[in-house]
């Protein structure tokens, strides 16, 4: 019960609702109200809060919907570039669904972060519009699947897949939105370092974008060098691993040195983007190795070797970034009253 109350309080804070309301509900529970009553009150409070914020900020809601659809269409465009996973295949459930979840969590996160005054209500407004759009586009197919599923049990997995897509989209968007929403009353406890890094990226978005561009430019330069001098053949030797580590360290160092105001956060932003890009390019290989490794142990070393290359890239870039970053409180030459000490 206490854990569920803590979760509810966390949700209320993220939604920007009055924290006194959470106290009132707890007070009533202490006087003997049931858990059902508590969650019913909580649901009404959340829905009332979301609806009130949308009603009071219609233009902001329209902007959030436009932002969400822009990201959604970009995702659809990227999705069409990847090979199609057959419906109800293992890939559909193991790869397609988690990808849908992550993609929509990212969308929810972006919509929430770009509408910080009312993040969750704005994500909810977009969610409703997205679901209406999706259902209207697929209405006739969904109706057919539903009708057929009533008589033919073999059609039911298709109905399950359709409903699972809607469910995963909803969970992803709301999850991303809630995670991105910050409590309106700042906590008195000190923020952990990770929050500081995310806050720095959030506050310096353009700097992070420039760092990502610079990192990719250096990375492509190394790829060009490797291809020109046919160094690919070294990839399976220790020297290849070392060269890979060094090239990534140089990339991380270059990103950190050219973004001295926020070296570590911008290097981290680049690492995340590089990993996503490589995963996108490498998707079919990783997927194949992962599926094969589940029942055939002889494939596991190949999978480990493949994943180790990602680890080397992360270590290299981070090490380079840390080496390239200078402590903020230690200038290269200390000036005292106009004199160089």
């Amino acid at each position: 019960m206490r854990r569920s109350h803590a979760a509810a309080n966390w949700l209320l804070e993220r939604l920007g609702l009055d924290v006194a309301l959470a106290g009132d509900l707890l007070e009533e529970c202490a006087r003997g109200r049931s858990t059902f009553w508590y969650w019913r009150q909580m649901l009404i409070a959340v829905l009332t809060g979301i609806w009130g914020a949308i009603r009071d900020h219609k233009l902001l809601a329209l902007r959030a919907i436009a932002t969400g659809f822009a990201i959604e269409f970009l995702l659809i465009f990227l999705w069409q570039l990847t090979p199609d996973a057959p419906l109800l295949s293992v890939e559909f459930w193991l790869v397609g669904m988690p990808t849908t979840l992550l993609a929509h969590a990212a969308t929810g996160w972006i919509v929430a972060r770009t509408h910080r005054a009312h993040p969750v209500p704005m994500v909810s407004a977009f969610l409703v519009c997205l679901l209406l759009w999706y259902v209207s586009r697929t209405f006739s197919a969904a109706r057919t699947i539903l009708a057929v599923s009533l008589n033919q049990p073999e059609a039911r997995p298709y109905l399950a897949a359709y409903l699972a897509t809607i469910f995963v989209t909803t969970i992803g968007l709301l999850g991303g939105g809630i995670l991105a929403a910050r409590p309106k009353e700042p906590a008195s406890t000190p923020k952990p370092e990770l929050t500081g890094i995310w806050a720095a990226i959030g506050e310096h978005k353009l700097l992070a974008l420039r760092a990502i561009a610079a990192g990719f430019a250096v990375n492509f330069l190394f790829i060009l060098l490797w291809n020109t001098f046919h160094l690919d053949m070294l990839l399976n030797h220790a020297i290849g691993w070392l060269a890979d580590l060094l090239s990534q360290a140089v990339t991380g160092w270059a990103v950190a040195r050219t973004r001295r105001a926020q070296p570590i956060p911008t290097v981290l932003a680049f690492v995340v983007c590089l990993l996503l890009w490589n995963l996108y390019l490498d998707f079919s290989t990783v997927n194949m190795l992962l599926v094969d490794s589940i029942d055939q142990p002889r494939f596991r070393p190949y999978l480990a070797s493949h994943l180790a290359r990602y680890l080397v890239a992360i270590i290299g870039i981070l090490a380079g970034g840390i080496l390239g970053a200078r402590p903020k409180g230690r200038p290269s030459a200390l000036k005292i009253d106009g004199e160089v000490a």
Binding site: D24, L25, E27
Partner: protein
């Protein structure tokens, strides 16, 4: 014609309850009082949304009280009606009385 700030039905209920409770008006007693006097099932979320709206209109003001362990360390938010709030309640009462008068169907008891 200037735009008037009318009170909705539930807003009026909340305002009257806050006036009735005086210094002890916070979420729990406000909800209970409305439930007892009207027989309605009242959601705390609706009461808070209404109070927030009334506060934006300047009809009530609020301040935080002490936190207690039974409330999970959360403070109570006490509400008080402002001068503008009292004025709008009186105006709403006059409007309702004006509408009430001269309706023979509504005279003569509870029927």
């Amino acid at each position: 014609m200037p735009k008037a700030n009318y009170l909705g039905e539930f807003e009026l209920l909340v305002m009257l309850t806050v006036i009735r409770l005086g210094d002890g008006a916070y979420g729990v007693p406000i909800s209970r009082e409305i439930e007892q006097r009207t027989g309605r099932d009242v959601a705390f979320g609706t009461v808070y949304a209404t109070l927030e709206r009334l506060q934006k209109k300047g009809f009530v003001r609020s301040n935080l009280g002490d936190a207690t362990p039974e409330r999970g360390g959360r403070a109570k938010r006490y509400f008080r009606v402002t001068g503008a709030g009292l004025r709008i309640v009186r105006e709403t009462k006059q409007s309702l009385i004006g509408l009430w008068q001269g309706l023979p169907e509504l005279e003569g008891g509870m029927a």
